[in-house]
Amino acid sequence: MAYFNFERKTLAIQDMKVMHQAAKEVGIADYLFVSFGLLLGICREHDFIGHDNDIDMCVLADKITKDQEDQYYAKLTAAGMFQAREEVTRRKDTGRITWFSLRKRANRSKFCHWFCFEWNGYLWHTKAGRWVKQTKFQRDHLKFEDTDEAILQGTPADYVYPLQEAKFKDMTVRIPALPGAVLDWCYPGWWLPKSGGSSSHRVLCRVPRWNDTTRWSINVSTP
């Protein structure tokens, strides 16, 4: 059954406007962009995906300071955006946010923000330690230890940079430079709708320790 009815779409747009306004006020609006499921909806249907109750936004974390990150979070808190849901994951070394999930009220959409960074030609996103578990990634796909600090999922950086503007509803949002390439990467066969599922685990990176990139290892999936 479709999640998005007219009312939920209207509320979701309101929430997105609050986020964009907060981002503008702290100077990170140029680095906030739409990706994953919402990008798929924009490109394929010019709309939210009907069953998608978890809207993905991304932030180019490399381009913003920790202060800006904290201020953005504080503004969203002040706007009541975390009232019904507040979950955060952070890097153990710097305390920088890697992901958060918010929901203003029970009748409104969940939004998550992925704080992405570039390394070795990929843009990485993660829920840090939360992803270090068998249920998320199979060990035959990526060799990792329970003590690892994070598993990252990568998208080629040149598919994302430079961000570009796109119209969505009555808003201007930012999307990756090559949205079609991102969709091919994340959702092979994306043009035909498929209910549920997450983006593909094509390139993963094991992070035993955040502060030691010499031990990070990238795995490119080969069936």
């Binding site: 924009i42 490109c43 010019h46 796109a166 119209k167 090559l178 949205p179 079609g180 390439a181 991102v182 969709l183 091919d184 959702y187 092979p188 066969g189 994306w190 043009w191 035909l192 498929k194 209910s195 599922g197 593909s200 094509r202 999936s221 080969t222 069936p223």
Partner: protein, 236 residues
């Protein structure tokens, strides 16, 4: 002249029949897919209106000109033009025109032969509208091969993440997606290349706006030569 739904379906199934009958040199069916404006219209607007000329792509190395000419003739088309390699005579483009009263008002069909050029495939047509098979200048546009020719690994990876419906429309050998037209699981199919999103980005920036996209496909680069001897020299 507005094309009726019935005529539209007739044209689609004729073209599909012609192209699906072609045999590849390596055995099995030929890889073919809708391309350029036809591809854009379908991907961006979910329509195949036949208001525009139909563009189809095959790979250059497949020796299918004779089969194509025969097939199109059988179904009421005649060859109305071509662009050829001045060294080998092989076609880069064949232009078919409907020649039967049952196809009156329906568009022409262009078959583009995608030439392998290192890590790219290049294509051309009668850019300067000279009407000659050997043009004064060849102007080629470029597409990365990896977007058109997935590896087995790419295809198997895609299959793993696909839904059953998506899996049914992906050819495991060629990586071509065959989407259904008009109704789910209909006999009318619309083949597109594997990394169709990447191709849309390259050729039609802003495609997701889904407005009437005017103009020709863009290209990362354009290769201009007076003779295909230069291609063979620069080539691989």
């Amino acid at each position: 002249m507005k094309i009726s739904e019935e005529l539209r379906r007739r044209v689609v199934i004729r073209i599909q029949s012609i192209m699906d009958m072609l045999n590849s040199e390596s055995g099995g069916r030929l890889r073919w897919f809708y391309a350029f404006g036809t591809f854009l219209e379908f991907m961006a607007s979910r329509t195949f209106s036949l208001n525009y000329d139909i563009d189809i792509a095959v790979f250059y190395e497949e020796p299918v000109e004779g089969q194509l000419r025969g097939g199109f003739a059988t179904y009421g088309y005649r060859l109305d033009g071509a662009i050829r390699n001045d060294v080998t005579g092989k076609p880069f483009n064949l232009h078919f025109k409907p020649d039967h009263e049952t196809l009156a008002g329906t568009p022409t069909v262009d078959i583009f032969f995608l030439y392998p050029y290192g890590s790219r495939r290049i294509y051309t047509y009668d850019v300067e509208r000279e009407g000659k098979e050997i043009p004064s200048n060849y102007l080629f546009k470029v597409c990365p091969r990896r977007w058109l020719e997935p590896t087995d690994g790419d295809i198997q990876f895609a299959l793993r993440g696909c839904s059953p419906e998506q899996r049914r429309i992906l050819n495991e050998k060629t990586g071509i997606w065959r989407y259904h037209l008009y109704e789910p699981d209909s006999q009318y199919e619309f083949p597109v290349p594997f990394n169709y999103g990447s191709i849309l980005d390259l050729m039609y920036p802003g495609w997701w706006y889904r407005q009437n996209y005017k103009g020709q496909s863009k290209s990362l680069e354009v290769i201009k030569v007076k003779s295909c001897k230069e291609l063979h020299k620069r080539g691989s």
